[in-house]
Amino acid sequence: MERTQLLGRELSYLFSFDMPLVTEASTRDPGGPLYATRVHSLAPHAQAEAKVYNALGEQRTLGEPAIRGHVQLADQRVDYPTGHEYALLQGRIVICTDAGDLLEASYTGSLSAEDRWQLLMARGNAAHPRMPERFETKAFIATRFDTASTRCRWLVKCMCLGYGRVSFGMPGQPAHASFDMYTMAS
């Protein structure tokens, strides 16, 4: 029999991270003229700015030491389907905690886009007169972390969601990403 009540759901905060980005490539997807793709990665020598931290200042999360460190590696692909007001994300990230543990994840997600996205992609790298100098988009990712660290082993059981912002500078290329990561719970 179909349920009449929702299952319990909860999001528990884990950590936040910031990443300055550079654009590696801007290309048309070979699938046809209706896709445009850009590939971005962590800006070189930017580990000092690519912090992983607890925005609430907590020392422990879910009974474990709060995760703090920096983003070691990151790259992501953003696909912009023409005629659709959103973009799709696929990315990989490696985090190094202050204790030296490596956490790695592959994620999927989406960017909440508006009409100006299409203007940006249709014109490639050229700036569009209606494009504001800098603006933020909402970003949503889902991922799991894997690690060989026994200290962070508890994280492996978590399905994580990330709520974030990607800010774009001129000429419409992502310059910075920032996310709050949560684990799903019931």
Binding site: D29, P30, G31, G32, L34, Y35, P81, G83, H84
Partner: protein, 239 residues
Amino acid sequence: MSESDIGDITSDYFFSIKAGVSIQAQGKSIVGPAGARLYFAFNSGTSRVWTKPRADTPGRVSGWEGFEGTVLSGGDFALLRLDGVFQLDGRLTLKSREGVLTDAKYTGMIDLVDSARIARAFTEHEHDRKGLTKAIHTLEAAAFEEYMRGKPLSARLELPIVLSVAFEAANTPWTNAPGEDLSWPAKRYVAHEKDFWRYRLLMRRPFVAAGKISFEQNLPMGVSGMELDFLGLSPKAAS
């Protein structure tokens, strides 16, 4: 197919598959931004996995005795791209006659655009790059449209295909504790343990599958079957 050398790579024949295929979801497809996604499943009842006689395939890898069995299940959420390329991304589960199960994931491409027509476009627009670009785009888009309308593929009912394949074959239980008693797993997970060694090579090198895919005439997106030879790739041994 015999052992052959491709530059510094050796390809060794392992086994062949012939399987019927049927379109799922009544042939409906999803046409999204990148193309049309259609779904087909392998028919286990009309499938066969076998190893061709040594006389036909002299190059055999030491430790490989062949594969005889069936396709247990499999399917593909294939994408027919707007430029007339079929992008395959599927899975297969094979069952050997001993009962050992092996998973395969594959990717591949099939170009539906008639290469002769592309060659003619190059000739006609030899000094007109802009015209050539437009002509190629038109041919590619037409290939997509014609296939979606169920038009026969220029009377070709079979097309060559090459896939990149990765296998996952079971082995004895792995444990980090040397000397650990391994009698605890349920029998169904280790029932064929004595035969796992036959297929371990599938996990130890990259594979390609070469063969043909067949289509039903006048049936929109009517894929009807595949025949493939599976070849394991390895670096050429230093002389």
